[in-house]
């Protein structure tokens, strides 16, 4: 198992959001985290990265990562594209990308920049531009590029389709698949658009008010109409 959570709890100040959940992300897999607003999906991703106070166990490649500072978790190989994309609005596209490769000291960075430009040609055009001037779709691409430049083994995506046009959403999911298949990056994705998410994922968990109410292979959930109607509403 690449990532393993046991009895994970999380809270913001007084309000508890996660009440002890267990889940895993398989090496080389795409796992989807589904559920309604306020179910705790985003918090789960934040908990993995040490951005909220947690209890319980978190293991990445067998090592305990809970309680470690965010930057150390990230450096160990987990990239996180947060909700709102976390773009450095005031910096240029170039600087955003350079920050993505911040933890790396190997010589492959330049080659990876080129790979990103092939994957996202828009970014090459906008290279010198201030990132705040990018459109929503371009910012999402920049955020993913930034995360990939870290050369992660696990990629956390928080609502990659948010605010994006249907075509772009398809494109983003296509890219996700490619990253996963070609580069072997495992993915944990949080998504409102359940049908889209289930189409790319191999495994899914359904969260409801901080508890996992359902889990299983994505294909099964997709096929099971009663589950879809009851929990996903489509």
């Amino acid at each position: 198992m690449l990532l393993e959570a046991v009895g994970l709890r999380a809270a913001y100040g007084q309000s508890k959001v996660l009440h002890g959940i267990d889940f895993t992300v398989r090496k080389g897999g795409v796992t989807a985290l589904l559920g309604a607003n306020g179910a705790g999906k985003t918090t789960t991703l934040r908990a993995i990265c040490g951005m909220v106070r947690t209890e319980g166990e978190l293991r990445f490649e067998g090592q305990r990562i809970d309680g470690r500072p965010t930057e150390a978790i990230v450096a160990s190989g987990i990239a996180h594209v947060p909700d709102g994309r976390g773009t450095f609005m005031e910096l240029s596209v170039e600087e955003n990308m350079r920050l993505g490769a911040y933890t790396r000291r190997d010589r492959g960075v330049a080659a990876d920049f080129d790979r990103m430009f092939t994957m996202f040609p828009k970014l090459r055009q906008r290279y010198r531009q201030q990132a705040g001037t990018l459109s929503g779709g371009e910012q999402q691409m920049l955020a993913i590029a930034r995360a990939l430049l870290l050369r992660p083994r696990l990629l956390l995506l928080d609502e990659p389709s948010f605010g994006l046009a249907p075509l772009i959403v398809q494109e983003i999911f296509e890219i996700m698949r490619r990253i996963n298949e070609a580069d072997g990056v495992s993915i944990l994705v949080v998504e409102q658009n359940a049908s889209m998410a289930l189409a790319v994922a191999d495994h899914a968990y359904l969260l409801e008010t901080g508890r996992i109410v359902l889990s299983g292979p994505a294909a099964d959930i997709r096929r099971d109409e009663s589950v879809r109607r009851a929990y996903l509403g489509y």
Binding site: A36, G136, G163, P166
Partner: protein
């Protein structure tokens, strides 16, 4: 009752040949369309096609170059931003722009700001007129709290609320100002299927109850196509389609630029 009549029978909102440039970039290259009274108009298009720019031109945040935007026959060009609310244009924001340190109730009351008139001195002295205004606002507020199911959180600070609730607060804040035109910027963003269906019901309810028009910028095709009376599609600052939802989503240009094959089929 209407402001600056003359063409009161015409469409509520008329966008005529609006051009908008940022430096060298042309964000809107001459867009025209109308929104009729009690209509819901969907505005779609790829990211960066100029939807939000157009939205901001209508609400006065940007000053467009040439062209004209008319509301109830009256030109909005050169009008100060804060005048929009008074004319009857209300809006929400893509990423939710609430007053974070304030309660739900106070947020909503700010939405009714332009309906009252007493100034600094009257407020400091708490003159009877001011008190009457406050009381009047409270009445509308109560009605909306129930309609949007916000009564339970009325005294909560908005920053402590979940995203979906904050979106409802923002909607309530826009509605309390009694707008004739409501500009909604991606109200379905971040909502799941069930919530989107609720939103759809709510939008219809609002139109009926408040007798207003809605201009809807939204990527959620199911919602746009089901709720809109007409749809306008933009690409690269140009209008590529305009018409009924059915017509627009069959438009090859729209499919190529925006929907992609699968989505078009799915939405249909």
């Amino acid at each position: 009752m209407s402001v600056g009549t003359g063409r009161d029978d015409g469409d509520l909102l008329q966008v005529q040949d609006v051009i908008m440039r940022f430096g060298g970039i042309v964000a809107l290259a001459g867009v025209s369309f109308n929104v009729g009274r009690r209509q819901i108009c969907g505005l779609i298009g790829p990211n960066g096609s100029g939807k939000t720019t157009l939205f901001n031109c209508i609400s006065g945040i940007y000053r467009h170059g040439s062209g004209d935007i008319r509301f109830e026959g009256r030109s909005l060009s050169g009008l100060a931003r804060h005048r929009m609310a008074g004319l009857g244009i209300g809006r929400t924001f893509q990423n939710v722009a609430l007053f974070n340190s304030m309660t739900v109730r106070d947020n909503m009351l700010v939405g009714a700001h332009h309906l009252a008139h007493s100034g600094f001195v009257a407020a400091m002295l708490r003159l009877p007129a001011t008190r009457r205004e406050e009381a009047a606002m409270q009445a509308t507020l109560d009605e909306l709290l129930d309609l949007l199911d916000l009564r339970a959180v009325a005294e909560r600070q908005v920053s402590s609320l979940p995203f979906g609730t904050r979106k409802r607060v923002e909607l309530a804040r826009a509605l309390i100002g009694r707008p004739k035109l409501l500009l909604l910027d991606e109200p379905a963003g971040g909502l799941n299927h069930t919530e989107v269906e609720e939103l759809e019901r709510l939008l219809r309810q609002i139109r009926a109850h408040f007798d207003l028009s809605i201009l809807l910028v939204e990527h959620h095709m199911n919602l746009v196509m089901r709720v809109s009376d007409s749809v306008v599609a933009l690409e690269f600052g140009l209008k590529i389609a305009d018409g009924t939802p059915e017509a627009v989503q069959r438009e090859p240009e729209v499919i190529r630029a925006y929907l992609g094959e699968t989505e078009a089929v799915h939405a249909a």
